[in-house]
Symmetry: C2
């Protein structure tokens, strides 16, 4: 599956502002989200599996890859397209061994060293941040646009910017070298998730077009 990172939705079904996570996901997909990552931090795994199976079908209908945060066994069980792992999670080379050559494997990388290690380990893309301050991820260290640019220059892998990204600052991420932007609450807590996704998609598409013209 080819990798379109333009608008990358991180979805925690426990945090969709009291709305049905599947309805929020479908609204986001209608709005133009290009990747969905399922993240699940607390609660029974079987609930995630039931919920993930429905999300799996939904993403297939929209031809958008579904990635699972951290757990390669859940990715296998759900026939998801891959996993996203942090620096303290399952190592990407282990994820690759478990999931095979066609799986999509993303790694959180905040420094050039982490980016190069992930690239050597066979990652398909990097998640880099926090670019801007954010309430979603307490204690996430801020790297700023300059940190994003430094990572993007250090690797041949596509980089998705994460952390406090919204429709207003998405273009700056693309200008700093990102292939796309990852958001959590900017979509899942938005009054209108479809409109929020659409605004992000438009901002990213315009910035990518501008970058191509400049390039």
């Amino acid at each position: 599956m080819s990798l379109d990172l333009r608008v990358y939705l991180v979805l925690d079904p426990a945090h969709t502002g009291g709305r049905s996570p599947l309805e929020v996901a479908e609204a986001a997909l209608r709005g133009g989200v290009t990747v969905v990552q399922l993240r699940w931090k607390v609660g029974p795994l079987r609930e995630m599996l039931r919920w993930g199976a429905a999300l799996r079908e939904l993403c297939r209908r929209y031809r958008v890859p579904l990635l699972i945060n951290d757990r390669a066994d859940v990715a296998l069980a759900l026939e998801a397209d891959g996993v996203h792992v942090g620096q303290e999670d399952l190592p990407p080379e282990v994820a690759r061994r478990l999931l095979g050559p066609r799986a999509l494997i993303g790694v959180s990388a905040r420094t050039p060293e982490q980016a190069q290690a992930a690239e050597a380990a066979g990652a398909d893309y990097l998640g880099t941040g926090s670019v801007f301050p954010t309430g979603s991820k307490e204690g996430a260290r801020l790297i700023g646009l300059e940190g994003l640019r430094t990572v993007a220059r250090a690797t041949r892998l596509p980089v998705v910017a994460i952390g406090g990204v919204n429709a207003e600052n998405a273009a700056a991420c693309i200008q700093a070298g990102a292939a796309g932007v990852a958001v959590i609450s900017a979509i899942t807590q938005a009054p209108d998730p479809e409109a929020a996704a659409r605004a992000l998609r438009r901002a990213v598409d315009e910035a990518l077009a501008a970058r191509r013209l400049e390039g």
Copy 2:
């Protein structure tokens, strides 16, 4: 690998009374533990992987199977012998599909219905309890020796008794139909883990011998 459930150690490296988890594990193995399950509830996964790799080697030296609580991907990464899953964890049929026909798969089952479902799903053994009151697992519902007996009679799978088991009450578990006993703190918090394991092993062996004579 054949399955000897006589003394089943559940090891949480975060709870070994301030001692090195590997030293506690080796003492327990010297004392006669026949299965080790690695349980890890909090903290970075990579720490569990580093730690689990050392435990993997230790268990191999003692020819004792190593099982991983819940995570089939960690079992694959560590080349462990299998997994133990609860009723809300990865379903046993999914674990079987991921780990293959030779893996050992245990399921927590407190009722005959759960036991029969686990058997149908391809489990190799059941963990049944809490047989006695315990401080290790808050909120674990008590089923007593009668509940243990009911489950053991409802299945052809070997059953390991868990929850408040010690060298004094282990024989009663075997008499109720258990193939062995699982302990956490009775070994890991004991002043002398090797002696604690040895006392449990002796109690279980004597009770199994008595049961064979009676049978």
